[in-house]
């Protein structure tokens, strides 16, 4: 096992400190590499066991529910696939850039990372270029905020809402229908104040 971990450590270029003589990638390193550039599934380590990380465009397609606490991952959420419809136009983020985005915020030490993402989007959409420039400087030149925000929008559209278009029957317009996205949006950490109050019943025309 130690040899396999060391092999992955070298293969994926991890830099985590060696603990008790065992070199091992951290979860943050692996997930950053995969999320920003598909660096794990597109470049599996042949020395270990390709079965565990078969060549794929997403960890969601690895498909071994016994590995994961939440079962099979059905959601393709990697960043490059959200940046452009054609693969040749995908934008990539290096592992170091993703780790910088996850850890280095202008408000370091004061806010949780999820809340800082919200803090970033507010000045971005208000076109406060001074504040946005601080984020870009903290994340590094590898990150283009315009493309990054577009990727987030595309991700939310597909992952949370199942797309921007839907066929809705007239009866559903009048009497309502059960939406599938409220459960996804009404989630998060209750202690952090995330919203749980969204109803899963949508009534576009009538109110009750």
């Amino acid at each position: 096992m130690a040899q396999a971990l060391a092999s992955n450590y070298n293969h994926f270029g991890c830099k985590a400190p060696v603990v008790k003589g065992v070199s091992n990638c951290t979860a943050e390193e692996i997930s950053s590499l995969q999320w920003g550039s598909l660096g794990v599934t597109n470049n599996p380590n042949p020395a270990t066991n390709a079965y565990y990380v078969p060549k794929s465009t997403s960890t969601a397609l690895w498909g071994q529910p016994s590995w994961l606490p939440f079962g099979v991952m059905t959601d393709v959420g990697e960043y490059p696939q959200q940046t452009a419809p054609q693969q040749k136009d995908w934008q990539y983020l290096s592992s170091s850039a993703v780790q910088a985005m996850m850890t280095r915020m202008p408000t370091t030490g004061s806010l949780a990372s999820t809340y800082s993402w919200q803090q970033f989007l507010i000045p971005y959409f208000l076109q406060n270029q001074t504040t946005v420039a601080k984020y870009e400087a903290a994340w590094g030149n590898n990150v283009t905020t315009d493309i990054f925000v577009e990727a987030l929008r595309a991700r939310i559209e597909t992952a949370y809402f199942g797309g921007a278009f839907a066929d809705i029957k007239l009866k559903e317009l009048f009497f309502g229908f059960e939406n599938t996205f409220a459960a996804g949006v009404s989630s998060g950490d209750y202690i952090l104040g995330n919203d749980y109050s969204l109803s899963n019943w949508t009534t576009p025309i009538m109110t009750d």
Binding site: Q127, G163, P204, I205, T207
Partner: protein, 295 residues
């Protein structure tokens, strides 16, 4: 207590007692800023909480309405209070013995921003968006089923017809179109996604453009025969009043003419006027005689 309904959901929202509106159920109102839960108006409450003051459910108002009164209705669908102002007067069963005067009040808006009620960026406007604000920077065209959307050239119905004496509503009619604007404001910016704080990149092409969601039409009208029969006593009073007015007018006209004739005759036959006239004749005759002598 018998509520007169078949179930809890069929109870009317508002009732009027001693010319004050009360909610039978907890009523939600958007006062433009907040959602307000109201059961009845309380004078001791802040004005923000008195949204139901002089507000009706729409079917009945306090009697003896004046033409300059503003009628206010709680629109349960849009969770808003809608004001109406007097527009015209007309008659039901015109020429009949039960001829009844009713008055039409025009709605001051079709709802405008009704997004609060639906959690959607929707706006209710006249059919075809008559009189809507047109963004001068807009270069996109809206099509429905492949055809260019036609903006209406005339206003659509949005009125309330009431019998003023009794306060009962005869007809409510409203025709509007509900529009959706992704982003909530009319704007047009080519490829500038910085302003599009929405999670739908595929809807960017229609961002900031009002596109027709659905047409809305409602027309609630009482049976004319039944309505006029029920208020026959008012029609009778109106007819009596009308007859009295006509009779008084005729009499007033008659006496006015009589007065004019009398004054004229009096002036013509006035003895003083005749005496003066005789003296004037004598004076003229005397003057003429003097002239002859001088010649």
């Amino acid at each position: 207590m018998y509520t007169g309904s078949n179930g809890d959901d069929e109870i009317g929202y508002l009732r009027i007692v001693n010319q004050a509106s009360y909610a039978n159920k907890l009523t939600e109102i958007n006062n433009g800023t907040n959602l307000v839960n109201i059961t009845q108006p309380d004078p001791s409450l802040d004005i923000v909480l008195q949204e139901l003051n002089a507000v009706s459910g729409g079917l009945q108002f306090p009697p003896n309405i004046e033409e300059d009164d503003q009628l206010k209705i709680y629109d349960q669908r849009n969770i808003k209070v809608v004001p109406y102002t007097h527009q015209s007067s007309s008659s039901l069963k015109s020429g009949d013995k039960n001829e009844l005067q009713v008055d039409t009040f025009a709605g001051m808006s079709h709802g405008d921003n009704v997004g609060f009620a639906y959690n959607l960026p929707v706006f209710e406007k006249p059919y075809g968006c008559f009189g809507c604000y047109q963004n001068p920077d807009e270069f996109r065209s809206v099509q429905v089923d492949g055809n260019q959307y036609q903006v209406a050239t005339s206003d659509s119905d949005n009125f309330l017809t009431v019998q003023l004496d009794s306060g009962y509503t005869y007809q409510i009619k409203k025709q509007s179109t509900v529009y959706m604007i992704i982003g909530g404001n009319q704007t047009y910016a080519v490829d500038d996604y910085h302003v599009r704080a929405t999670p739908f990149p595929h809807l960017d092409p229609i961002y900031g453009a009002p596109w027709p969601f659905y047409d809305f039409s409602e027309n609630l009208q009482a049976n004319e025969d039944v309505f006029t029969q029920r208020f026959a006593y008012i029609a009778e009073e109106q007819r009596k009043t009308k007859n009295n007015v006509i009779a008084m007018s005729v009499m007033a006209g008659f006496f006015l003419i009589l007065a004019i004739v009398t004054i004229s005759v009096y002036k013509l036959k006035d003895p003083k006027r005749r005496a003066n006239s005789d003296e004037e004749t004598l004076m003229r005759s005397a003057n003429s005689a003097d002239g002859l002598i001088e010649e």
